[in-house]
Amino acid sequence: MKSKRQIQKENTKIKIFETAYKIYSEYGFTATTAMIAKEAGVSHGTIFVHFSSVNELLTCLIESFGADLALEIHDLTEKNDSIKKLLETHLNILSKHENFYIHLISEKSLLPEDVRMTLVNIQFNFAFHFNRIIEGEIQNHTVKSIPVYMVFNTWIGLIHYYLLNKDLFSPDEPLLKRYSLELIATLLELIKK
C-alpha cells in the first residue's frame, strides 16, 4: 500500500501536470514554469522534483495528448472503420485539446528538437492508421486512387489552416465545434469516388 506521503507526492505531480497543460493552452509555450508553479500553488523548485527539466514536462504533456489520440484511433482501425469515422475521431480528440494543439502547431519552432520529435511521432502514428483505412477504401473503390501522403497532407493542411487562423474563422467559440462537419464533408467530397 502507498504511504500518505507517496500519495501526496503523486497528487502534486498530477496537479503540476494539469496546471501546466492549462497554462500552456492559455498562454502558449512562452509561459514560464514560475507561472505554472504560482497557479498550481507549489514552489518553483517543486516542479523540478517531479520533472527533471522543462523539456521533460513538455514531452509528458504532448505524449499524454498523443496517447489519447492513439488509443481511440487504434480501436477504430481494428474495426476497419470508414475514413469518415476516422476523421470524426481525429477532430473529436483535437477538439478536446484545441487550444493546446493550436499552440503546438503555431509555436512548433520555439520547442526544442526532442520535444518537436514527440509531436512528429504522434503525427506518424496517426498517419499509420490513416494509411490503413485509406488503402482499404481505395481497394474497395470507395476512395479515388490518390497517393496516401497527398490525401493525408490535404487533410492536415486543411485543418491546420483553420486552426492557425482561428482568430479569423471562429474568434469567440471553439473552432472545431463550429467547422468539423464542414471540414470532414469537404475532404470526403474531394476524395470519394
Binding site: 481494428e78 506518424f124 497517393p147
Partner: protein
C-alpha cells in the same frame, strides 16, 4: 495489453501478433514472411519508406524520424547504446 517491442503498436487481437502467436512480443507488421522479427536495418528501411509513402517527407527527414522513433523501442535500444558507446571511443 502488450505493445510491439519493435514498433510500439498496441497488440490486442491475435491478428495483431506475428504469425497470430500471442506469446510473441512483436507485431504482424514487424515480422518477416517466415514469422521471425525483422532486423534493425530492415525495420529502419521499412519505416523510412512508410513515412515517405504516408506523409511525403524528404528522405533525410524520414530517416531522422525513423531513428528517433526506434530509439524509444525496447527491441532497438541496445543497438543505439552500442552505437553511442562506439562513437565515444
Amino acid at each position: 495489453m502488450k505493445t510491439c517491442i519493435a514498433c510500439g503498436m498496441p497488440m490486442k487481437e491475435a491478428s495483431d501478433f506475428a504469425s497470430e502467436d500471442t506469446s510473441k512480443d512483436y507485431c504482424v507488421h514487424c515480422a518477416r514472411p517466415d514469422g521471425s522479427m525483422q532486423s534493425f536495418e530492415e525495420r529502419k528501411a521499412n519505416m523510412i519508406n512508410f513515412i515517405i509513402k504516408t506523409q511525403g517527407f524528404d528522405e533525410k527527414v524520414a530517416t531522422k524520424i525513423a531513428e528517433s522513433n526506434m530509439k524509444k523501442l525496447p527491441a532497438w535500444k541496445a543497438y543505439f547504446n552500442k552505437q553511442s558507446a562506439n562513437m565515444s571511443r
